[in-house]
Symmetry: C2
Subunit: 214 residues, 2 copies
Amino acid sequence: MGEASGPGRVELTVLGQAPVERADAARNRRRILDAASRLLAEQGPEAVTMNAVAAAAGMGVGTVYRRFGDVATLLLALLDHREQQFQEAFLDGPAPLGPGAPPADRLRAFLYALTDHIAAHRTVMLAAETASPMALYRSAAYVAWHAHVSMLLHRTRPEADEAVLAHLLLAPFGPGLIRHLSDDRGTPLDEFKAAVDHLLGMCLPVRADGASAD
Amino acid sequence: MGEASGPGRVELTVLGQAPVERADAARNRRRILDAASRLLAEQGPEAVTMNAVAAAAGMGVGTVYRRFGDVATLLLALLDHREQQFQEAFLDGPAPLGPGAPPADRLRAFLYALTDHIAAHRTVMLAAETASPMALYRSAAYVAWHAHVSMLLHRTRPEADEAVLAHLLLAPFGPGLIRHLSDDRGTPLDEFKAAVDHLLGMCLPVRADGASAD
DNA sequence: AAGTTAAGCGGATTCCTATCCGCTTAGCAA
DNA sequence: TTGCTAAGCGGATAGGAATCCGCTTAACTT
């Protein structure tokens, strides 16, 4: 919907996002994110309700809902910056997390890093999951994780149904399980990482040839 | 549920549940379950709200909340009968699901059966998960599954941290992922089962000795 | 049978989510 | 500049979650 008729149309559709966003809409998006961020910092995740955000941002609830369909989406949007850093790390960063190491090593490194990443943003992700369990799967973050794991699995185990298998491997990283282990059972995160390590140790090393890395 | 004061006090605390339940409380629990079950059958899972159940059962909302802390707990309670049948099948039923087969075979059989079990009650479990993501982990059902998988893992892989590992193996069976695969991506359930099979195939057969079964 | 008390009861209440729809305005065209 | 129109805006509204607290009652005691 961009590209009008004039010859010098410079504006470019940034990332395949929405079909362009009106100026007031963009301004309000910022205001919403700022207000939400402030609420989160000052009063914790429970205080981030659509009503509270709208009030803090000085606008109607309808506007907040127009930008972010639900609380979970809004909360996950707050993590966007960190998420992009994480993505860069496993897409372009140094090995073994980034390209250059054998796929099996990269997979292990990725799941380790993912554990830390989720642990770091645990509170917000927990709140998001509680507000709307399915939001994570629809987030750009999860899609990227899944694509990455699928790719690595495909190189490690070409015979597998890597798409579904990647979902299975990522399932334990949903905030639900981590919350259960940490809060309800007091399991330290190191044990979780050790178990992930153990699981990979069982699954992966069958063919540890360091074929074409990248 | 009568059994008054006479010498022949037959009543027995069924399963270590609550420290006994007053007669009116028990009666209301039944009424709530019946009303909820009716709503579920006639109007689907979305219609099962605490308000609607209370109205259908002819009582106040507070009473419903007293018996079942939230919608998810109530929904899961509706599955209790089926859940007990499932438990009997893997605790006492015929091998390989029940005792008698090598642990690795039993684990595979269990995860297969669990897939079917969850698929069969998918709608309700999905609704429960949506209402309260953590409810499943606290349910008697999940605790039993976890105990069973832990036990089998311990026999297959004594060196592992079987408790955490069991959580990892069970994570894909949360309704969240299954909903995502089925509804959002149209993946048939057979593919899911095949991937589970594949995952086990990678993890387990290292030592397939049929040692002491049971 | 009557007394005692902890448990149960239930609806009023508060806060939230989510949607709807008439009003406003940015951004384009003439 | 002056319309025009699709997009955006926002508050009113509907309905559910969850809690609270004064009243009621089952069930044990004597």
